[in-house]
């Protein structure tokens, strides 16, 4: 949080976002995906929390925290193509573009499940 004593670095929004996304991706040990946007991923993830927020390995709704970016993105693309069943997920994925999917994959790779 910025306070009166700090000196902000002013970056243009695209540059700031691109750097943030790249650093997050590198820190997560994955290849950065073009278009992966950490803030967008966080916003989009709020829809996922309703069902996936308390999921475990024993629940019907799966735990999606900590999945690798590639695996996460592949699953969403499969739902989007209706190659995987479950109409709820087909509907969710159906309105996500590739940047949305990359952003969500980035978010869920490092996000912690709420306690």
């Amino acid at each position: 949080m910025a306070t009166a004593g700090e000196c902000p670095i002013y970056l243009s929004r695209p540059t700031g976002q691109a750097i943030a996304a790249y650093l997050l991706a590198i820190a997560a040990g994955a290849t950065a995906s073009y278009g992966a946007d950490a803030e967008l991923g966080r916003y989009l993830s709020s829809e996922c929390m309703t069902c996936h927020g308390t999921a475990t390995s024993d629940t019907t709704i799966p735990n999606i925290f900590g999945l690798g970016q590639a695996r996460f993105a592949e699953a969403l693309r499969a739902y989007r193509a209706k190659a995987l069943p479950n109409p709820v997920m087909q509907t969710v994925a159906g309105r996500l573009n590739d940047d949305d999917i990359a952003s969500l994959a980035l978010y869920f790779e490092t996000a912690r499940k709420p306690k």
């Binding site: 949080m1 000196c7 902000p8 820190a27 950490a38 019907t60 109409p87 969710v92």
Partner: protein, 428 residues
Amino acid sequence: MTEMTRRNFNLFAGASLATLSTPLFAPSVLAQAKPRLVVIGGGPGGATVARYVANESAGAVDVTMIEPLKNFTTCFFSNLYVGGFRDIKSLRHNYDKVRKGGVNVVQVMAGSIDRDKKQVLLAGGARVSYDRLVIAPGIDLKWDSVPGYSEAAAQIMPHAWKPGAQTELLVKKLNALKDGDLIVMVAPPNPFRCPPGPYERASMFAHVLKKKGYKKSKIIIVDAKPAFSKQGVFMEGWEKHYPGMIEWQDPKMHGGIKSVDPKTGQVKTDLATYKAALANIIPAQMAGKIARDAGLADQTGFCPIDPESMKSKVDPNIFVVGDAAIPGDMPKSAFSANSQAKVAAMVIRAELTKSRAFPARYSNTCWSLIAPDDDIKVGASYAPGDGKIKETGGSGFVSQKNEAADIRRQNYKESVDWYNGIVADVFG
């Protein structure tokens, strides 16, 4: 332009250990009074907004939630309590984690809103000032929409469309029925809270009676509308599980609901007069009183909103989420309320901390249990369009007739997981 401060730049650089529960929206508030969000209503709409704004602004916004109940009983899933699939304690949630998340929870009734002064007047006289206000009061019942019905009559002919004592009264009356007793349900006109709800409830009535071995009992649904949500699959399920037990009457058949009489248990239509051992009267509905008194509702009794933000069309400092709002193509449901709340929270956080906003998007899924392991669902995604919250073309889905039992069983398990997820999302 989003300011990238040195502090949150370092947060991103150290992200190998960071979790993204660290807020990304570093606010640019510099040593001034915190902006204030007040939320009226601690249900799936209001509590979600309060928690999300508190979490995502990391203390930069002062969040107060006003809710008169110490414990909230969810209306959603209360039908499963009616059917004996869970106990009422499992539907009750407190606000301890909401408080721990940085929300100031005030247990009092909000009395009225002074929109000019941007203050909420609480019962007892205290005033709370706001920069942004969220109103999520749920519904009130239009007692006079069913002639002879009233708040007093509901103590004998429960609606149980607001949870808690009414739900327990309904269950008490259901469990006291004898074989051959008649249940009459009056189902409301559109728009109302939870479109499949009355029909799931009728299914639960039938399940309880069937489980007792009753062979002569009957449930008549006198409907104010010509069709209902998931009608085809509900009726298929009733035929399969409860043949001859549930009779649905549309307005063409019954000719109009004439009156109900709590003293005699009579429900009178143009077609017939029924003596109901249990009369479940679900009247027409409107937005909670505080929203209407504040001038936020239109002639429908519900509150028009801007689909990009959930802001009231009447006052740009006020957001209306959940059942009190006019949700376009979305149904009135807890899922919808929680979804709308996240859009409102995003806009409020962006405005009050001068941080990034995103395009609004919404979704809903409604699950309904017909019989053990036979659960059906309907849903869609939505976005602003044509001046309302509009269903995204091709996104809608609904359970189909003749579906495999496995799918219906899976639906039920999914719904239970959803319930656990959404109450954690709403109440922490």
